[in-house]
């Protein structure tokens, strides 16, 4: 393979489901080692955008490329390789509940293994593999759970298993879709901080979708705002103004707290009639 370093480029990407555009003409580039947070309301296209980045969703128009190579021009082998170097932490965690933690983590590397190699990793892992899994689990702080059944872990611990699985891929790019939606606020901050630090240390390109604006601002140097599938802004965090944020979240100007998002009093009154 050529010198893959983990740059990600979307060019005029449009994704339409039965004529409805989930993503419209989005272009953005992430340089190797860069970290960005994807923000926007539910349904703004964050998940769709992330899913185009490992070709789980094919754009209707436009192209996504990894290190200069378009997904649509890759052979099956190349696509498999490219995917195996993109870690993805899913919102629903997507773990196999009745397997052990070690088996879930090991399955992250299936993309780099043959069928029999994968079978061996899952059923009779070599000492080498066990050590590597232990290392990764240690880096997310749950090394002692290595042989536990995954569904016996708490939500926060399962979260870490999902992170460990993505890291075990030895990725160049790490994508995370609302990785903190299943954990409490304290854990949420620790989780984001953890992901951020690991990526910094290993020089991974990172793109995380978040609905927690504070965390996005605290931990990411670059914010990408999405609204109804359109890119509203994409710039350094400190240059994003309050009015841009308000616009993104459909808030009236000069109002940054999230109170009005829940429900409007006038509408509440109407529904009671």
């Amino acid at each position: 393979m050529n010198a893959a370093r983990g740059s990600l480029c979307l060019k005029n990407v449009t994704v339409a489901y039965q004529g409805i555009e989930a993503l419209a003409e989005v272009s953005l580039t992430l340089k190797p080692g860069e970290a960005a947070a994807l923000i926007g309301l539910s349904g703004s296209g964050k998940t769709t955008l992330l899913n185009t980045c490992n070709a789980l969703i094919q754009p209707t128009n436009g192209a996504v490329s990894i290190d200069g190579k378009k997904f649509s021009e890759m052979s099956s082998q190349e696509l498999r390789y490219a995917r195996s170097r993109i870690g993805f932490i899913h919102q629903s965690l997507s773990l196999v509940p009745n397997l052990r933690v070690i088996q879930n983590v090991v399955s992250g590397r299936l993309g780099q293994r043959s069928f029999l190699g994968g079978a061996r990793d899952l059923l009779f892992p070599s000492t080498n593999v066990v050590e590597k899994v232990y290392e990764v689990l240690d880096s997310v702080g749950i090394a002692e759970k290595i042989y536990e059944r995954t569904d016996r872990l708490s939500g926060g611990q399962q979260q870490r298993v999902a992170i460990a699985r993505a890291l075990f891929q030895d990725p160049l790019i790490l994508l995370a879709d609302e990785p903190i939606s299943s954990v409490d606020p304290v854990r949420a901050k620790a989780t984001i901080s953890l992901i951020r630090e690991i990526c910094k240390k290993k020089g991974l390109t990172l793109c995380v979708s978040l609905h927690n604006l504070d965390l996005a601002k605290t931990f990411f140097p670059r914010l990408i705002g999405l609204q109804d599938g359109r890119l509203i802004f994409d710039k350094a965090t400190e240059t994003v103004g309050a009015n841009e944020i308000n616009k993104l979240f459909n808030l009236p100007d000069g109002c940054i707290d999230f109170g009005p998002l829940t429900s409007k009093p006038s509408m509440l009154g109407k529904s009671l009639e």
Binding site: A55, V96, F115
Partner: protein, 277 residues
């Protein structure tokens, strides 16, 4: 539950009831038919249920194995036939279950489902329907005509419909399984075959085992009945004793069969309880 669907449910229940009555009428089912003049035979047979034979009910040549030993060896033969068939069916069920499920259609590399995949899917489902539409005993008769008494053909006769049934059930269990982990592994470069064996199959294992154990019970019963065609399973001795009106012996064999099924049931419960932990 809204009004429309509760009305629908009522319609279904009424239709089923009418169909049942109509079918019974068409078959001219009449409880009086059960009352016969042969009450003594019925009485003889069922009264021995409480006192199954522990030894032969007739004189046997010297050196014949005791009844209990013969029963146990027949039970062992019954288990052997069933186990051999189960082994084949499990392998067949898992392999064909993969092809008969939509696993290969999960997000193929180009995002489109290939025609060959769909053709294979349809072909395998058709084949599985074909082999399970013929009962194992019917297969056994066909093979008996073709090959004569042969252990291998008996095992294959048992295994064929069982494979068809397991492949169908396995494929449907797989298709009911949450796809979220499957998509995650696919997105990480896993192949459909890896996803099937290492992600989807593990999730269905509790259900898969429970159903396989049930199929094993069915195989035990069928394996016993194979004896009626001359194989050395329990059915062989049941038929012989029944012909000679040795009802006590018949009950001895029947209770052994019941015991086998009960043991499989207990075994299955134990394993499933362990898997839940």
């Amino acid at each position: 539950m809204n009004r429309a669907s509760s009305g629908q449910r009522r319609m279904v229940i009424i239709t089923l009831a009418i169909a049942g009555v109509w079918a019974a009428n068409a078959l001219k089912l009449n409880p009086i038919d059960l009352v016969t003049n042969n009450t003594s035979i019925i009485y003889d047979f069922f009264s021995r249920a409480l006192s199954p034979a522990m030894d032969y009910e007739s004189d046997v040549p010297l050196g014949t194995k005791p009844l209990i030993v013969k029963t146990l060896s027949a039970a062992w033969q019954t288990i052997l036939f069933a186990a051999a068939a189960m082994g084949i069916s499990l392998i067949g069920g898992v392999l064909f279950g993969f092809l008969a499920s939509s696993s290969l259609m999960i997000e193929s590399a180009r995002g489109t489902v290939k025609y060959i995949t769909v053709t294979l899917y349809g072909l395998v489902r058709f084949l599985m329907a074909l082999i399970r539409s013929i009962h194992e005993l019917l297969w056994a008769v066909l093979f008996l005509v073709a090959f004569g008494i042969s252990e291998l053909s008996a095992v294959i006769a048992l295994a064929l419909p069982c494979t068809g049934i397991l492949a169908k059930i396995f494929s449907e269990l797989i298709d009911e399984t949450s796809r979220s982990a499957a998509h995650a592994i696919r997105g990480g470069g896993g192949t459909p075959i890896q996803v099937y064996f290492f992600v989807l199959l593990p999730q269905t294992i509790p259900d898969l085992l429970a159903y396989s154990f049930y199929r094993f019970e069915c195989l035990l019963r069928s394996s016993a009945v194979l004896g009626f065609f001359g194989y050395p399973t329990l059915g062989f001795y049941i038929a012989a004793s029944f012909e000679n009106l040795f009802y006590g012996e018949v009950w001895c064999y029947l209770y052994t069969l019941f015991l086998l099924v009960a043991i499989v049931d207990i075994w299955s419960n134990q394993i499933r309880a362990e898997l839940k932990l």
